[in-house]
């Protein structure tokens, strides 16, 4: 092989992206060509740097609107902005905890030590976002194992309750029983599905035995997506949703 043939393949070679036969031919050429070796060395530096790259997974789409709706809600009048800033930071921190069921116990520990003024702010913000209200769900969906999962069934099941939020998002409260822990470097993700389109409601892990309860949030568009899936996803893999469906349900 000549340098002109090897050169276009060196980047792929550095990434391990060639077929074995092609890689062997490139290696044979490299053994006797210092120019191509130098070029490969440069590619490998980039390859090494890429090891530090975070996985190319975007956060759930609903987060963008969540941030903006909180900015809208918190935007104070110019005169009291400075005064409001400190209490809103604390209030937000605590309302975040209230937004997830699994942090209720955190809240119980923290609340006694929070100053009275902050508590007032917490309640005000919490009520505004609907986090502290016990609303009746607009839909309760049974989530059942897919046939593949059922073959190794260990008595798990799930229920999803959907509640609309003032921000327009939908809150999904998942109650999962005996849901297995995800494999190493994996996590569960919940999806709303319509045809071949999916919207992520967020991700979670579980402890296996007993009941796992999770609060997730999904964007308003998901209200027209009537299939719910829980899939097992792998950290660092291709960003497309996994096909490993653990539970499935249909919105009535």
């Amino acid at each position: 092989m000549k340098c002109a043939e090897v050169h276009p393949n060196l980047a792929a070679f550095a990434l391990g992206g060639l077929e074995p036969e092609g890689a062997t031919e490139i290696q044979r050429h490299l053994d006797s060509c210092s120019d191509c070796q130098s070029e490969l060395k440069e590619h490998r530096k980039v390859n090494r740097a890429l090891e530090a790259a975070p996985p190319p997974t975007p956060p759930p789409a609903y987060l963008r609107e969540e941030v903006l709706s909180r900015v809208r809600a918190e935007q104070p009048s110019p005169s009291n902005r400075e005064e409001a800033e400190e209490s809103s930071v604390e209030a937000h921190r605590i309302s975040q905890r209230t937004s997830r069921f699994n942090r209720f116990k955190d809240l119980r520990i923290i609340l006694p030590s929070v100053a009275a003024a902050a508590v007032v702010a917490v309640i005000a913000v919490g009520v505004f976002f609907g986090f502290l209200r016990e609303e009746t769900p607009v839909a309760t969906i049974q989530l059942i194992p897919t046939p593949h999962e059922a073959s190794g069934l260990k008595g798990y099941w799930g229920v999803a309750e959907i509640r609309p939020q003032p921000s327009g998002n939908q809150q999904v409260e998942l109650k999962l029983n005996n849901f297995e822990k995800p494999k190493t470097n994996s996590y569960y993700e919940m999806w709303f599905v319509s045809g071949d389109k999916r919207i992520s409601a967020g991700s979670f892990t579980s402890v296996g035995r007993g009941e796992t309860r999770v609060l997730l949030n999904v964007s308003p568009e998901a209200s027209t997506y009537h299939t719910l899936l829980i899939t097992e996803e792998h950290v660092g893999k291709h960003p497309a949703p996994s096909e490993e469906v653990a539970l499935k349900g249909e919105v009535p």
Partner: protein, 197 residues
């Protein structure tokens, strides 16, 4: 996400966070940086739901603390990295507290990552992680796609060609160009030297 030449710079957008254009400005900054904040947060904290919480915390802090940003002292990206690092450290500590609670049977949720790497160790690595993520974000979509599929997806060039329906020769040239662009981008901040140390 690549930025077009006619779009406002990050620093210009920061000056709009105090007025009527706050939502437009914050949306643009979010679109440019959300993947980096989320990805680096995920590396630091190791827990997806907390990394999602981090994204919200960071962008709210960008809005709330926009007056503390001084473009004469450094770029927006550097400032945002410091904000992200600080918020991530807070969440990391909170998470460590939560892991202890799990061991006492107090909580239903478990964290994904053990605490074998200390926060300082993880945070030291996060600067490099941030710069590499930003370099990847500077690639345009076709180059970003082949890099993601080749490096993170572990696909060989033929498989990328089949998956994307792009000729094999084009996949190879995009891969080579992507690495070249990354090399140029990372060389600016001596990131390559840091990576190979």
């Amino acid at each position: 996400m690549t930025q077009r030449a006619d779009e406002p710079s990050d620093e210009q957008l920061m000056t709009n966070l105090d007025g009527a254009g706050v939502e437009v400005a914050l949306s643009k900054l979010y679109d440019r940086y959300n993947r980096t904040v989320f990805g680096v947060g995920l590396r630091i904290i190791g827990d997806r739901s907390m990394a999602e919480e981090l994204v919200q915390e960071v962008f709210l802090k960008v809005w709330r603390s926009s007056s503390t940003f001084d473009s004469s002292r450094g770029s927006f990206s550097t400032w945002l990295y410091r904000v992200t690092r600080s918020c991530a450290l807070d969440l990391y500590r909170k998470r460590a507290h939560r892991i202890r609670q799990v061991s006492n049977g107090e909580l239903h949720m478990a964290a994904e990552r053990d605490s074998s790497a200390g926060p300082q160790e993880v945070l030291d690595d996060s600067g490099l992680s941030w710069r590499v993520s930003r370099a990847l974000e500077m690639l345009d979509e076709p180059h970003r796609e082949v890099t993601d599929l080749a490096y993170f997806g572990g696909l060989i060039q033929r498989e990328i060609s089949e998956r994307t329906d792009v000729p094999l020769g084009t996949v190879k040239s995009r891969t080579a160009n992507a690495l070249k662009k990354l090399r140029a981008e990372l060389a600016l901040g001596d990131t390559l030297q840091e990576a190979i140390r």
